[in-house]
């Protein structure tokens, strides 16, 4: 990417205006003077066009971001330092909302739940996606069918998927317990037991995203140069060995990309646990057993009406992501240093 940017800068049109082709053609040798005013204006317009247009083209994004991203982000930060109740005047609290969170059992519970559900839903998901991509990378009959089939869950909304899975996971009549019964297991309480409920929610996330990630990996795998495999095969590496020593290292940037995207998604998890919990969804189950940070934030903001506390939770989510991101960058830099 870096090289292409440099190349483009070198090849970009020079800042000097090119000869005004159309007017030059119409110009006759005798009347240079009356035209020069118009051509100066044209040249100025041209220069202005070159200078201002890029900013005009990126303006819609930055204006939208300023209005609906940056301003609310800062405002949320300001609110997080206040005690705010719906309809009331904000009252300065300093960092009390944050220190309050540190003492809150509900917050700690939600933080841990977000982490555990995040791990249970992301790790198997990405591992299965890798395997699936490897399989899809073979020369296949019905290739198009398999690709579209594994992508179908991605077309299903959070709400629809969760409502269907809530039935499949129902403790009394759900098909999953029936299937477990066939192989001799006792029915599992997928709703009020903590770990089964978190696993069920993770299954919904995994179901929706595995195929999507597999297709991303597949594309990266197909860009791996064939001679790497040929060299490995000449060295007597088995197919499995090739997968580990050629495929995985070659697509490492893509793997990192999917890890980042899934981690961001896991931090924000909201719809799946909320709808899975039905009428007690916002509290994350009757005993908060699967309440995530997002759900707690929503509960504080829209049920309790404590907007300051809700804002503090939102900011903690961002800080967690930033700390995680910084850590990733540092450890990558360290590894690069060790390698090179």
């Amino acid at each position: 990417m870096a090289t292409s940017v440099r190349a483009r800068n070198g090849g970009s049109p020079s800042p000097d205006p090119p000869p005004d082709a159309p007017s030059a053609r119409s110009r006759r040798p005798g009347d240079r003077r009356p035209d020069s005013g118009a051509s100066a204006l044209r040249r100025r317009l041209y220069r202005w066009d070159l200078k201002a247009t890029p900013y005009a083209f990126i303006a819609p994004f930055f204006l939208t971001f300023a209005a609906f991203g940056l301003f609310p982000l800062l405002y949320t930060g300001w609110l997080s330092l206040h005690r705010v109740e719906l309809g009331g005047e904000p009252e300065w609290r300093g960092l009390e909302n944050y220190t309050g969170l540190a003492d809150s059992e509900f917050f700690r519970n939600a933080l841990v739940n977000t982490f555990t559900i995040g791990v249970i839903s992301t790790v198997p998901q990405l591992l299965m996606a890798l395997g699936l991509a490897h399989l899809l990378n073979y020369r296949l009959r019905g290739r198009g069918f398999f690709r579209v089939a594994v992508l179908a869950p991605y077309a299903t909304s959070i709400a629809a998927a969760t409502l269907v899975f809530a039935q499949l996971f129902n403790t009394d009549y759900g098909l999953i317990n029936s299937a477990l019964g066939l192989v001799g297991f006792d029915p599992v309480d997928w709703e009020s037991s903590k770990w089964p409920a978190q696993i069920a929610i993770s299954v919904i996330v995994t179901w929706r995203w595995t195929g999507y990630n597999a297709l991303i990996y597949l594309a990266a795998m197909q860009a791996v140069p064939q001679d790497l495999y040929e060299a490995a095969a000449l060295d007597g590496a088995s197919r499995w060995r090739q997968f580990l020593s050629v495929t995985i290292p070659s697509i490492r940037p893509t793997i990192l990309f999917t890890i980042i995207v899934s981690t961001i998604g896991a931090t924000q998890l909201f719809g799946e646990p909320m709808l899975y919990g039905g009428s007690v969804g916002i509290s994350g189950g009757s005993g908060n057993q699967f309440q995530t940070l997002s759900l707690l934030m929503y509960e504080k903001g829209w049920v309790t009406g404590a907007l300051g506390q809700a804002s503090a939770i939102a900011w903690v989510m961002l800080l967690l992501l930033l700390v995680g991101g910084a850590q990733t960058l540092v450890s990558r830099a360290n590894r690069k240093k060790q390698e090179g």
């Binding site: 292409s4 940017v5 483009r8 049109p13 000869p19 082709a21 159309p22 317009l45 066009d49 070159l50 247009t53 900013y55 990126i58 994004f61 609906f68 991203g69 301003f71 609310p72 982000l73 949320t76 399989l135 899809l136 296949l140 009959r141 198009g144 069918f145 579209v148 992508l151 179908a152 077309a155 299903t156 909304s157 959070i158 709400a159 629809a160 409502l163 269907v164 809530a166 039935q167 009394d172 009549y173 179901w207 195929g211 999507y212 297709l215 594309a219 197909q222 860009a223 064939q226 893509t254 961001i264 924000q268 909201f270 719809g271 709808l275 039905g278 997002s294 829209w302 939102a314 989510m317």
Partner: protein, 284 residues
């Protein structure tokens, strides 16, 4: 995009029977919940919640559909969702193409830093903006108005980055320079050079954004209410929380109504969507 796919696909090993078994299993797991959604929507509510749950379609699909359509207003939600997703997709594609073009091909001060900023905004969770935004739309009286879910989504960082990655390879600088030599101003260049070149990527981005907007949940759930002027997802949330005290067959019929239009789009255009997802990822 397609040719690249073809070139590289030919060299692969042939799949053995085990590969087909595993892929068949993956396809089954992917498709079964959707099939069962159809099954559940074709039975009575009592039948759906009686063990063992049904595995084959029943006779009640049309009754459930008409009930969901008339009593729960899924029809209105379907129209709302179509309007929102279409507007968001159109505007995101337009603005992302302009910005992507500028980032890919137009020299300007601060380009690198601004592009980094665009990418960085993708990491900000929507949770950080919903509280102020909710206050604003409450003040404006926009709760349950569709513009409150359309406006924040007019353009997306992902789209800008996607179009930039495409145009950086697909659009030769010579084309732009030639147009400038002919005295074309930037808007003419966009119309006559950039749009024709970008069209395949614009189509793919449009589909991806449409799917995303169709399925968007968190902010619509806050800005719209299930009993007011909901999108499909918000209406489904209302059904799931028991707002209408309808039976499970009707709830799942609602889920079916929200899913089928997108599944049809995928069945028709799936190949292009797959190509888009993979193309966008390889280049990133």
């Amino acid at each position: 995009m397609r040719t690249r796919f073809r070139q590289t696909a030919g060299r692969q090993h042939h799949a053995g029977p085990l590969t087909y078994v595993l892929l068949g299993l993956a396809a089954l797991v992917s498709l079964f919940p959707l099939y069962w959604n159809l099954v559940a929507a074709s039975h009575t509510g009592e039948r759906v919640v009686t063990a063992p749950a049904p595995l084959l379609p029943g006779p009640r699909l049309l009754d459930n559909l008409s009930f969901a359509w008339n009593q729960v207003d899924m029809g209105e939600a379907l129209v709302n969702t179509t309007v929102v997703a279409s507007l968001v997709a159109l505007s995101t594609v337009l603005f992302s193409t302009l910005a992507g073009f500028a980032f890919a091909k137009l020299p300007f001060k601060g380009r690198g830093a601004l592009l980094t900023l665009v990418v960085a905004t993708m990491t900000i969770p929507p949770q950080l903006s919903v509280i102020p935004l909710y206050r604003i739309i409450t003040d404006l009286g926009w709760v349950d108005q569709l513009q409150s879910v359309v406006l924040p989504s007019l353009v997306a960082a992902f789209g800008v980055f996607f179009m930039r990655q495409y145009l950086i390879e697909a659009l030769p600088v010579e084309l732009i320079e030639a147009a400038r030599m002919d005295g074309a101003h930037s808007l003419r260049i966009v119309w006559h050079v950039v749009f024709p070149v970008a069209r395949p990527a614009m189509a793919v981005l449009g589909m991806l954004v449409f799917v995303q907007a169709w399925n968007d949940f968190f902010w619509p759930f806050i800005a719209l209410t299930p009993d007011g002027n909901p999108t499909l997802q918000v209406a489904l949330a209302g059904l799931g929380a028991g707002n209408h005290s309808v039976d499970q067959a009707v709830v799942l019929t609602g889920a079916l109504i929200s899913t089928v239009p997108l599944l049809l789009v995928f069945a028709l255009l799936g190949k292009h969507i797959v190509g888009g997802i993979t193309a966008g990822a390889v280049k990133s």
